[in-house]
């Protein structure tokens, strides 16, 4: 009894230590958001702000450039996520349930992009979108990444595992494939849509390289480029920078906390076993 209680206490101590060290950088970032610019980096070092300065956070929330970028990126990310679930789920369903000529060829074609490193098509993708006159539009940020081999693959695995009984009954009753997809598959795929949806949202929200290549119009700035150029644009406003970074990290962290169970299960599904 004593021993198990002692080991439980040891586990708690270890757990708190690990959590502290994993989260310390983020905690420091959030705390620095409350400091005056001069207090962020100074000797003697202080973890907590001497004066709690809400000003940095409120200033960022009222900052026209920053909030426009936040709003636009959020809008783009939501559209991106919706489109990407729709496109990938349709293809996943066709590969999981339908029979058609050239299935193998199309399968290889759709799965191959998973093996193509982003860098090897980055430059020519840029040439392609500029040929299509897509530069400096919201479309260039959204459309090119919508179709994703990995997500399609993931959803197909899930669809393959769904029981066929209800579907067969619906087929006998003369239900079309579209109806089956919309009425049986979509309502039962909430969990998998959440996982791929969050991954899409994160990919869009956190994107940096593609936006800096394709967007030069200041009114279409995305959030990550704004943060990366923050000090160059505004001088050494460390307190505001940390506040802006904390606010920009919040959406994905909130998504994680709300859907933690799905995500943890999703990682298990997606890894090899």
């Amino acid at each position: 009894m004593v021993r198990s209680r002692r080991s439980l206490a040891a586990k708690w101590v270890l757990l708190v230590l690990i959590a502290l060290s994993m989260l310390m950088p983020l905690a420091w970032m959030a705390l620095c958001g409350f400091k005056r610019d001069l207090d962020v980096l100074k000797t003697p070092f202080a973890v907590l702000p001497q004066v709690w300065e809400w000003h940095n956070y409120t200033a960022m929330l009222h900052d026209r450039q920053y909030m426009t970028a936040v709003g636009l990126t959020m809008l783009g990310a939501v559209i991106f996520t919706g489109l990407s679930i729709a496109v990938n789920a349709l293809a996943a369903y066709a590969f999981a349930r339908l029979e058609f000529p050239y299935k193998r060829v199309l399968w290889v074609l759709c799965i191959m992009p998973m093996f193509v490193p982003a860098m090897s098509i980055l430059i020519t993708s840029f040439v392609v979108v500029s040929k299509l006159h897509m530069l400096n539009t919201l479309a260039v940020l959204i459309i090119p990444g919508v179709a994703s081999a990995a997500q399609m693959f993931f959803m197909r695995q899930f669809f393959l595992g769904m029981p066929t009984a209800v579907e067969d009954a619906a087929r006998i009753d003369g239900c079309s494939r579209w109806r089956i997809f919309l009425k049986i598959f979509v309502p039962n795929s909430g969990a998998v849509f959440v996982v791929v949806g969050i991954i899409s949202y994160m990919a869009y929200w956190n994107a940096y390289v593609w936006p800096i290549l394709t967007i030069s119009n200041p009114t279409l700035q995305q959030i990550m480029p704004v943060l990366a150029n923050f000090l160059d644009d505004r001088g050494p406003q460390y307190g505001q920078l940390m506040a802006a970074s904390t606010l920009a990290a919040l959406p994905t962290i909130v998504l994680l906390l709300v859907f933690q169970r799905h995500i943890v299960a999703g990682v298990r599904l997606s890894g090899i076993k």
């Binding site: 994993m22 339908l98 759709c110 090897s120 430059i123 956190n206």
Partner: protein
């Protein structure tokens, strides 16, 4: 965004096994029903195929074509065969960047895997609620973007930043992390490990949970300690998971370029210029044929890394087939 999705080492969705499509049940149906089904299938696939065709296949084919032509915006391109490949393969800057990338990957991947193994072993011993808290905590940095991590770690590594304060607590003098060529890669590797730890830990945990408890218990009865159990039972049984994580991790880490770009700007004096950062910088530079050079270099990387991972995964699969 196709260009960002694979550059972060955190996105390892999907297995790298090109699965054979199931043949399905060859029922005999009327031909009109078949035609209907075919039409439905093609309609459902159309958006995916069109988008991948335009934004992946076209750029890829175009890249291979471009790598064999010398040209710029003013002159008609001239076919030069493989000369750009030769140019890339004899470029000292490219080899230097390969070394940097290798150094970075050799720190990030084994380091990250070791920490992940310890974390996963610890989480496995916890009760349900503590385990779920721990999983979320470990996963949390994964959702933070590389840009935010870079902005943050630049300040952490500043002369009066968090890292030097922590070193000061154990009486180690202040260090110039980012200005020192021998220190910059390990410094950049820390956020690299931090960002990737979540997925590695969860995949490893899933592997650990698959190991039958009875193996470990009987070893414990025979007097094997934690290290012995880990070495003789857990690690051999985890071999495929470890190999998968190791290879995908190496391939991803070798391609990392956002962290070194934004934290150290490739410096000091190229000490943190990883292969993709080198390629990216070439692309942005104003030297003649910079674009063709960087396209060719990225294809060389693609071919080398792709071959390595294909070989390793063939190995894993063939072993699985033997086991079954």
């Amino acid at each position: 965004m196709p260009p960002t999705q694979a550059t972060t080492p955190r996105k390892r969705l999907g297995t790298v096994t090109a699965e054979v499509v199931e043949a399905g049940t060859p029922e005999r149906r009327s031909s009109t029903a078949n035609r209907e089904e075919r039409r439905t299938a093609y309609l459902m696939l159309a958006p995916m195929v069109v988008l991948l065709g335009i934004f992946v296949i076209w750029p890829l084919v175009y890249a291979f074509k471009q790598s064999m032509y010398q040209g710029n915006f003013y002159k008609a391109p001239v076919f030069v065969g493989l000369s750009f490949y030769k140019y890339v393969l004899t470029d000292p800057g490219f080899y230097q960047s390969l070394k940097v990338g290798g150094y970075y990957a050799v720190i990030v991947v084994p380091g990250g895997m070791l920490i992940a193994l310890l974390l996963a072993s610890f989480i496995k011993t916890l009760g349900a609620r503590m385990a779920s808290f721990m999983k979320t905590t470990v996963y949390l940095p994964t959702v933070v973007s590389a840009v935010i991590a870079s902005v943050l770690f630049r300040l952490i590594y500043a002369d009066q930043g968090l890292a030097n304060w922590l070193l000061g607590l154990v009486n180690l003098g202040p260090k110039n992390f980012l200005g020192n060529a021998s220190m910059v890669i390990p410094a950049v590797a820390v956020p690299g490990i931090w960002l990737g730890l979540g997925i590695t830990t969860l995949i490893m945990l899933a592997g650990l949970l698959d190991i039958p408890e009875s193996y470990l218990e009987s070893a414990q009865l025979d007097g094997a300690g934690f290290l012995q159990r880990t070495w003789y039972i857990t690690l051999p049984l985890l071999k495929n998971v470890l190999l998968y994580l190791f290879v995908t991790g190496l391939v991803a880490a070798f391609q990392e370029f956002l962290l070194p770009l934004l934290i150290a700007n490739g410096g000091p004096v190229n000490a943190s210029t990883t292969p993709n950062l080198y390629i990216f910088n070439q692309f942005r530079s104003a030297t003649p044929y910079a674009m063709t050079f960087s396209i060719t270099a990225s294809l060389v990387l693609f071919i080398v890394l792709g071959t390595i991972s294909a070989l390793v995964f063939r190995l894993i699969r063939s072993e699985k087939a033997v086991d079954a």
